[in-house]
Amino acid sequence: MSSIQLAGIAKAWGTSRALEAIDLQVDAGTFCVLLGPSGCGKSTTLRIIAGLETASAGQVLIDGRDVTNLPPAQRGVAMVFQNYALFPHLNVRDNIGFGLSVRKVEKGEADKRIAHAAELLGLAALLDRKPSQLSGGQQQRVALARALVAQARVCLMDEPLSNLDAQLRQQMRTELRELQQRLGLTVVYVTHDQAEAMSMADQVVLLNKGRIEQAAQPRALYAAPGTTFAASFIGTPAMNLLQLDGGRIAGSDVVASPRAAWLGLRPEAVGLGGDVPATVRSTEYLGADLILHCDVGTQSITVRSSGEAQVAAGERVRLGWADDAMHWFDAEGRRLPA
Amino acid sequence: QAPTEISFFYPVAVGGPITKYIDGLAADFMKANPGIKVNPIYAGTYQETIVKALTAHKSGTPPVTSVLLSTDMFTLIDEDAIVPIDNFVKTADDKAWLGSFYKAFMMNSQTGGKTWGVPFQRSTVVMYWNKEAFKEAGLDPNRPPQTWAELKDYATKLTKKDASGKVTQWGVQIPSSGFPYWLFQILTTTNDAILANDAGNAVKFDDPKVVEALQYWVDLGKAGIHPPGVVEWGTTPKDFFEKKSAIIFTTTGNLTNVKNNAKFDFGVAMIPGNKRKGSPTGGGNFYVFKKATPAQQEAAFRFIKWITHPERAALWSMETGYVAVSEAAYGTDALRKYGRDFPQALVARDQLPFSVAEFSTHDNQRVTKALNDGLQAALTGTKSPAQAMKDAQAEADRLLRSYK
């Protein structure tokens, strides 16, 4: 269990700058998720912590110790790769025990640790299989087991679930999170899936173009996105961002705030039966929910209503929302106090 | 005292377990001469053996002695690779030994008044004929053709065609792949032409007698009694066994082979003469290398002398089919008995008095190639015999200029 600190970390390849002055504090025993769109520098950050990449500037501290110039093996970190990076020629046991045998951990001890990790992750019956004989979820667990047996203080994960199908992903999220809490690991976890970030993180670090856009607890991030970027990136369906034109929703008569440039409304905060007239452009049935895409003026509002609602495309509806459901942003996209 | 060790390269050019014989001989020699250790090294074909020997010579570690083609003499002298045998001939016994070889074999072993090589596995070209084919053609099966004219006449009668006009049996076949010049010498010699001088620095390819000889060869083909184009040396004996050729010309070294494989009665005879009788000799001589120590050279000489002793020479001849190198060898009981049982074996010996040296000059392989190319060009019809020989002469003159 260790804390991680990044101080002024920057990274450039030639002239292209991937990261600019990242400052980050990950407390010991917490689950920190690096979230952001593709190419924003998540992997780069993670790899700099792991020591697989060298930072162009700045320092990496693990547990207060400056590890900036240490090779990966000496940083006391474990890592789970996006495609698991299991060794295809080794069976599950040898995959899990790879690091132990490299580090010449005594056989009895190694076997014990492997058995323990396999037990923990439900792999005990699969120890003699090759990775190719495992399902995606099982592979994922092997990768995790390999990271765990090292008993590293820090565990880094780069989109470990992105290759799994929806159901498995769901299940693995819960398992991962439980495990982290049980073992008290410090985890830095990369994903571009906001749902994953929200459901797992103690702290979500939202990256955009090599900078930290916002770093906060999931609830804080959801409740008070600091920028339109954060607002639209988090939540599914995404927050509606309605452009305001002279204090009204553009192209309509609906009055909003005169100070702001954008009005943000979460789809689940908008209800049918209010006083804002709208036209349903299309619907999306998801069983539990029915997603309505409506037009208000020139703006589009997505509404999440119950799956039992019977609304068809083309219908005219009236929408409504609570006052405290409104988020305001200025022209630069910065949040304005309510 | 440690025994003197001599390495000895030898090629294998005939079938059978030759390496075993050689190893056996070496072992016998060592038993008789405990101070000398002979290390026989099989070195491939003749061509590969000289490549090996000269490569080794150039890099400073040649064998002490080697069996190489008699025609390699000039090349070896030019490369300064060998020493004359005369250096070691000291006693009267030695001299008698050196004088005991057939003259025909010594022609290729001497130049400039010195002896450079000792005949060992020597051969000559003879004629083989199929007696059954002779009978079928209404010829006397026991009377081979004696002259060029007769050869042509017989061959015409011996040529058989099937209904479609395709030849099924050729009258005569003279191989022309690999070393056509050697077979060509049976024609030039009998036409009384000598291709190269003794000094090995002048050739007479454009001699009218040479051109005439080539014309005769080409005419055999044109007459449809000799296979067209270049005839493969390697398959010629097989052609004979398969009755695809009634008369063939090839080395005496093939005798055992023909004896074992011909399923018909066959005869062996001297080359049909024209202006004279004759045939070239061929095969390998012993050479002693210059870079060996005097002690090694001396030991090699003892070995050579031992192995060419009539008893051994007779044995060697019977085992391999090579011509025994000295009169005395044919005088041994073993060979005499062999000759009685198998008189064809003696034809080569009888021909030796008429034989001439195998063609050899300085820069031998190049000059030979010029001749070979000319011969093949004429035989495949791309050049007239006169033109082919003229071109070959010009090339040879150019090559030999610096040896005059």
Binding site: P72 | E48, N257
Partner: protein
Amino acid sequence: MNATQRLAYNEPTWLDTLAAWVLAIAWILPLLYATWTAFHPGEYSTKFSLFAPLTLDNFRRAWEAAPFARYFLNTTLLVLMILAVQLVLGTLAAYAFARFEFRGKQVAFALVLVQLMIMPDILLVENYKTMSRLGLVDTLFAIGLPYFASAFCIFLLRQTFLSIPKELDEAARVEGASAMQVLWRIYVPLAKPVYIAFALVSVSYHWNNFLWPLIVTNSVNARPLTVGLQVFSSVDQGVDWSVITAATLMTSAPLLIAFLLFQRQFVQSFMRAGIK
């Protein structure tokens, strides 16, 4: 499944099958001929008759013509030695080319590739000089030495190593493996098909190599099979196909049998090697 039910989109037609078989027969004809001739007396080497008597005499004669037992041993030792060294050196060099960044890499790689064209066969004379300077003439070691560093091997392994996901390398490093451990425990096992494929190529090349072994060896103790085989080629007495074919079969039998037994594995190795 009846014929109309076969979906024609990827099936070879009967014409393909015919052509493929004709070609295959033509390709294997020399081997068929060798088998025929080797097991029949000499007079049947040019005539084909169902009632030809069988014989092993040709093999006996071929076997006696040279110390083949020793040659077999030599060849086996030779190909194994060459292969082993090629693989070790090739692996190290390929690893350096595939996973290290250093100045002069391109140049060094080009220098390696040079050997793809300048085969040791052409440099006989110079190499012989070197061997005799080193006092190695007439040793198995000398036959192998010029081939020890194989550009083909380095090239092939480099390609393979490059195609191994970088994450595996990184994962191993995070687990604490040193560069050598990564090579030995990750790259080498993963490149196994390529090793097998290369082994096939290398072994068949050196099993059949001729000119250089001939030049650089003198004694039975160092001679490989092909040189022994030469006894039968281009002798004064003409070609004796019975013995030559017997000897050919005898000397190539180990390779042929190995290939027959393992052909599936070999072909698969080539495929998995993805040699392109």
